[in-house]
Assembly symmetry: C2
Homo-oligomer: 553 residues x 2
């Protein structure tokens, strides 16, 4: 019997790692391959990616990867996915250009087939007919997807907002959606990121008045920080700089790279002569320059943090400067942003924050945008995607309470790993794959096993002890004293007696063992580990990881 | 020459750990002894306290500790401070009762002299005449302090808001402040927590209408979560429960304790028969019960988290329940609160959040409260305290821009450890003490050295390696192979060759050393550590902590 399976690998019930499989008649496509930003950074982990292991089962079925847009949480895991399954990738020109930079870092550029597609293009991949719909978002060149299958049409919104007056490009192509809706939509998979926000999301143009005022009133230099991917925002800043007779100096690697790509592709229109380099910028009058900088989230290695703390080479912030934080606060970054602002204040800068002026708008659909989307598609089923469970739930509640024809039966909340199965009869969650995240060390770009992170958590929490005991080979005679060293263990510093007592505790445990026990080295090792563990817990209340080594001589 | 020194030990440029020394003519008082909530929790650290070490220098001068109110960030470090300097403590009855619970945990109850004082009381301590002024805040029985010294009067606001209609007790005693202002105030040390917020802070009574609506409309059980110290809020809930014919069941240890203390002291007036226990509560109709629970911040061990995740013993949340989160989001807790809400939604509860209804008000002065405070005191100098640098700075900016007579010269921003010195000539920062935080393991209530936490951070980031090499005593002969074990090291799992290659790298390093080097065991040890470090960095890109043990047989 024909059926369509939808299997989210990430992005459902969490922020980031967006990735979803669609499977029909033994063929599968994957939509997006995003990275996540885990809370495990203290454990040497910078990013996370979905766990692609269960896809091995469908190895020969995977036919293509479709990218909706170029944000890291949608393309950041692409190299890791392609290393496992080197299949063709479909993306817009700008998304493809960003993806290529990622592939370059992994030295995979020549090995991947990248199809560049345009809005209204239709690509056939096995039983899937994929229609690319122009979508508006904080980034440019984004798609929503209409995926026509033998079971019906699935609309995947990607990330979107309904922007009728974007700075760059055309408004969201609602006409296409309505046409697709007329023909019948089985399921709408819709972005939930802003489903807790009432009303409409303002247009990308909405920030222009506040920026005009800022350009008009700033007495000295302007430092504007925004997400390096906010191409509409960058366009506004370049335009206003030109209008107000300022030059723009772009600082920070990711910002420079994105400006370069967007300009190369003719997406960003930079007025002639408005860009300058740091050397020339420093020679100009304070009122003649705008620095466009990375680091709006208080990231420790970004340009703005280095400026705020006085370690940026060749440039410093001083009284008279205006710093504009044109970005939202990503949850979890509140403290680092507050520290950033404190440091900027210490240097005498005037700071303009999102909370106090309309200098940032979201790229995601608010509730009224969700209504417009849903009413355009008129799907049989709504499946909220992209967001923490709280947002998915509020997406469901909004649709249920405010759009006629929807209720608990046709709004479906799923989780990562669920297999959502559609057939002629209806829809159900027919299975579930257990998914662990995979962690990545950004420096070496290598995977870090989940177990390694678990071990690191234990080490972090209680420190480590090395216990070394030497025995005569083939006998049970102990040679010399046990040797114990502590790393990060509380209560043991400057305590000479403790180390001696710990040795005694180990020796006592050895003394209480029979010769048979001593000759069973595994048992011996475990016994002395437990003895030392008990001693430390009792004496200093510590629970370190104890690494025991038996030396046989 | 006479001088007054003000030395903050904590709470300036950070949230929490409020503590401040005032010193005149070789005598010192300390105001508050608060704990902090550090970001170092992954390292086995639950709380932090100010570093009191530099106070040893003034050991014989410390005459008293004055507590402004009973919040943890003002009294949580009291036992640790008293262990070093067992001096008399002055506090209100309620603050004293909370402090006694803390002392009990440290088995210090009988050893401390606790003076209970009332509003308008005046206590003489050496050259300090301390006047206790009734202050309004989210807690009850709070003080601002007027500290009269030979150099002039210092007003320390404590935490406050100007509440003209508190639920419990009288309004803020502005009359006292004006009288003190008439007589002349040298310096106003003012709470900055809400200095970024415009307008007035609403009264504690402002939440009553929203709560009335909630009580009126909730179809089933009500679960209300708030800070266990928000006594005004608890009073409102008890009153409304009585009015709407519901019983109140208090869950969570800290909530039960605070209700008990406040009722014992006659501060909380619980209508007769309104309190019930869990057993009886479970037998009631859903519309007859309110559960008052801890855990509004998504804390993992609190009642609400356990209810949300279905592990609370004998009680579970289900469809028809209304959960009210009557608390602000403390920065840093965004993610755990979002997870909490997601879990509650999964159980079918209706959730009422602070963002959407007026069910929480702050306990801290907003900008217009700061104006009222400053104009009542009319101080020569304003010193912003209590808050991150960003808030202190905004406090300064507000006073400078909106209250006549204040400018950069008489609004003074200081940092923890600064010595702010007043004399007949004027004011200056005359010195600075370097202060590290002290960390506490909450389970054992013992201090954790800063160095231990630093070592744990390294272990967390890269894992640990134990390297054991055995040598002939007094010679340079190596016995057997080096023994290497890994804990939390990335890239080494399931790699048998790697362990062999690592051993070879160590052996190669040993082979390249001269006999003299080998006999210098320190040098030997360091050389093989570096050899293994280089090998691991090159082969697997890991930077673990390497613990090297030389066994001499």
């Amino acid at each position: 019997m024909n059926k369509l399976e939808i299997i989210p690998l990430g992005g459902i019930g969490e922020f980031g790692m967006n990735c979803m499989g669609l499977r029909v008649s033994g063929e599968m496509i994957l939509i997006d391959a995003g990275m996540g930003f885990p809370e495990e950074t203290p454990y040497g982990v910078d990013i996370s990616i979905p766990n692609f292991d269960f896809l091995d089962e469908f190895k020969d079925e995977i036919a293509a990867i479709i990218l909706t847009h170029g944000h890291e949480d949608h393309i950041g895991a692409l190299p890791y996915l392609l290393k496992k399954f080197n299949v063709p990738v479909f993306a817009s020109r700008f998304t493809a250009a960003l993806a290529e930079r990622r592939l370059e870092e992994h030295r995979m550029l020549g090995e991947v087939l990248l199809h560049r597609v345009k809005p209204n293009d239709v690509s056939e991949v096995g039983p899937f007919r994929i229609e690319f719909i122009h979508a508006s978002h904080s980034l440019v060149d984004c798609f929503s997807l209409a995926i026509h299958t033998p079971l019906g049409t699935v609309v995947h919104t990607g990330d979107y907002k309904i922007d009728d007056t974007p700075v760059i490009g055309r408004p969201y192509d609602l006409e296409a959606l309505r046409r697709i809706g007329d023909a019948g939509v089985l399921a709408l998979l819709g972005d939930s990121t802003n489903a807790t926000v009432e009303g409409r999301t303002p247009s990308e143009k909405a920030v222009v008045p506040a920026f005009e005022e800022i350009f008009d009133q700033a007495p000295g230099r302007l430092f504007i920080s925004t997400f390096s991917s906010s191409i509409h925002r960058l366009q506004i800043i370049f335009n206003l700089a030109y209008e107000f007779g300022r030059k723009v100096c772009v600082l920070g690697r990711s910002m420079q790279r994105n400006v370069e790509i967007a300009e190369e592709l003719g997406i960003l229109q930079i007025p002639g002569g408005v860009v300058t380099d740091l050397g020339s910028a420093r020679a100009m009058d304070d009122s003649e320059i705008v620095y466009l900088v990375t680091g709006s989230q208080g990231e420790m290695r970004a340009a703005l943090w280095n400026l705020a703390t006085g370690i940026y080479k060749g440039l410093e912030i001083y009284k008279g400067d205006t710093v504009v934080l044109s970005a939202r606060i990503i949850p979890g970054n509140e403290k680092s942003i507050s520290r950033l602002i404190g440091n900027l204040y210490k240097r005498g800068a005037n700071i303009i924050e999102e909370k106090r002026r309309l200098i940032h708008v979201s790229g995601h659909a608010s509730q009224e945008d969700i209504r417009i989307m849903t009413e355009a598609c008129r799907p049989r089923f709504v499946v909220p995607i992209h967001g923490e469970y709280r947002m998915l739930f509020r997406h469901k509640e909004f649709v249920k309470n405010h759009i006629p024809g929807f209720d608990d039966d046709n709004i479906i909340l799923i989780e990562n790993g669920d297999v959502l199965e559609f057939d002629e009869v209806g829809v159900r969650v027919s299975g579930r794959h257990e998914l662990n995240r995979t962690f990545i060390d950004e420096e070496s770009l290598t995977e870090i096993e989940y177990d390694v992170v678990r071990e690191r958590k234990k080490l972090a929490y209680g420190g480590a002890v090395s216990l070394v005991v030497t025995v005569q080979k083939g006998s049970s005679e102990i040679l010399g004293d046990p040797l114990i060293s502590f790393q990060g263990v509380a209560g043991v510093e400057n305590d000479l007696n403790l180390n001696r007592d710990a040795r005694d505790a180990v020796l006592q445990s050895i003394g209480s063992m029979s010769n048979v026990q001593l000759r069973d080295r595994k048992l011996f090792q475990e016994n002395i580990r437990v003895a030392l563990k008990r001693f430390l817990q009792q004496e200093v209340g510590s629970k370190p990881v104890i690494v025991t080594t038996i030396v046989e001589v």
